[in-house]
Amino acid sequence: MSPVTEAALRKGVPAIEVRDLHKSFGDNEVLKGIDFHVDQGEVVCVIGPSGSGKSTLLRCVNRLEEPTSGTILVEGVDITDDETDLDKVRTRIGMVFQQFNLFPHLNVTRNLTLAQIRAKKRSKSEAGEVAARNLAKVGLEDKAMAFPAQLSGGQQQRVAIARALSMDPDMMLFDEPTSALDPELVGDVLDVMKQLAKDGMTMMVVTHEMGFAREVGDRVVFMDGGVVVEQGKPEDVLGNPQHERTKEFLSKVL
């Protein structure tokens, strides 16, 4: 079981709840009123064609993207409220990027300890222990002193996952985590994510890996044109889609 804040557990609120979310870039409305939630311990995979707004939705959840209107609750706390300490909320939301975004000037260990020390105010030794534990979890304990440029894409992404885990987040956001990887490296990253799901981590995964969505997802959400078109159990959405647009999309990717 992942560490979940007690207050949230008591209330039994969803980990993530999005209500009537709109997001425009200039005249281009990317999200047209999204209602969406992820329960605690749930793995939700968001699929859809490029430009459907799925990455934007994910990036709104930790406010890397500023919503135009709507409400976003993280463990019951409204993060669109100006009073909310965004940095504190973000320490509870791990994020993994398509392009890894490791800090290239720091070695792997310092990549994992930097935010622990700066944002969680952990001591250097404590941060180091947490880092070592999470590196072992992604199978890269022997790369502690390596620099990102010395690692393969798959290794870099696993380090990025370990970096997010080192903050002891309550939930993890994955933004197309395997899209930038060579095909033979995808498996290692997916294995780490599967293990995370098995350990009970709350996960929101934007992905093109239909196999992963089917196998690991508790729920699949299909987005197109800035709206949620269809959602449900993976076998239903992927195996027996109800909407024309879902069928069309799946016929192209499966």
């Binding site: 940095d87 975004n101 700066r118």
Partner: protein, 265 residues
């Protein structure tokens, strides 16, 4: 050139012609030069001996010292200006832009002159450290304008994903700047910053306009004074050599640093 020649033959012929041209040019220069006049005016051993040890203990030392002070000051001020220029607060951006455009647009010589003579007259305030101090403040101000633009470009060259990663981990914007953005920015701008430093070493030669006290003279002022007193240009040649002795190892060192830093890019 004959079309039936092989490409490798043709290349060898072209290169041979280029070598010949080069040797010819050198020969013409050597032939035209008046070697006796050159030796007596620029390489007079007696005059050279007289320049020591002050040319090292005073002049070269001051050149290095002034460069160091102006560069460190220029870096700090330049960093502040760069951050102001990237600030979301409009008046900060305006102020930084106005400052940068003004001092990049003026000749360094005029700015030094202004701080040494115009500012004391206009404000009744003499910068600390006498003429040398006034000149150094001017050099810091001029170099910071150039360095600010370099640092700004460096900060903007750091991929936005780096800031996003740091912010997504809950790091405060200022920590993100200090431990994620700036270290990468400075790696990116190492070559242009070296350029600024080398330019600055040579710009210390403009300080003579401020009128330096004897012990404050740097290489160029020292050499010019000696040229007038000895009626011989040998001190200028010595100064030139010393400038090269200072700048060449520096550019080599930075090239080495740059190779080292590539690992962490």
């Amino acid at each position: 050139m004959a079309p039936d020649l092989k490409r490798s033959t043709r290349r060898r012929l072209t290169r041979g012609a280029l070598y010949a041209l080069f040797i010819l040019a050198v020969a013409v220069v050597v032939w035209l030069a008046d070697w006796e006049a050159i030796q007596s005016n620029f390489f007079d051993l007696d005059v050279a001996v007289e320049a020591f040890p002050e040319i090292l203990t005073v002049a070269a030392k001051n050149t290095v010292l002034y460069t160091a002070i102006a560069f460190v000051g220029g870096l700090l001020l330049g960093l502040i200006l760069a951050l102001m220029k990237l600030s979301p607060v409009l008046p900060y951006r305006w102020a930084a832009t106005a400052y940068i455009e003004l001092f990049r647009g003026l000749p360094a010589l005029l700015v030094i002159f202004g701080f040494a003579f115009a500012v004391p007259i206009a404000f009744g305030w003499r910068p600390p450290g006498g003429s040398a101090g006034a000149g150094l403040i001017a050099l810091i101000i001029v170099s910071s304008a150039y360095i600010a633009e370099t640092i700004r470009a460096g900060i903007e060259a750091v991929p936005p994903g780096q800031v996003e990663a740091a912010r997504s981990l809950g790091m405060h914007p200022s920590w993100t700047m200090i431990s994620v953005v700036l270290p990468q920015a400075f790696r990116i701008i190492t070559p242009p910053l070296t350029n600024e430093l080398v330019i600055l070493i040579k710009d210390t030669s403009l300080l003579f306009i401020a009128g330096m006290a004897l012990g404050d003279r740097e290489l160029t002022t020292f050499a010019r004074d000696m040229v007038s007193s000895s009626a011989n240009a040998t001190p200028l040649v010595l100064a030139a050599l010393l400038y090269l002795i200072i700048t060449l190892p520096l550019t080599q060192l930075v090239a080495k640093l740059e190779r080292h830093n590539k690992r962490g890019r």
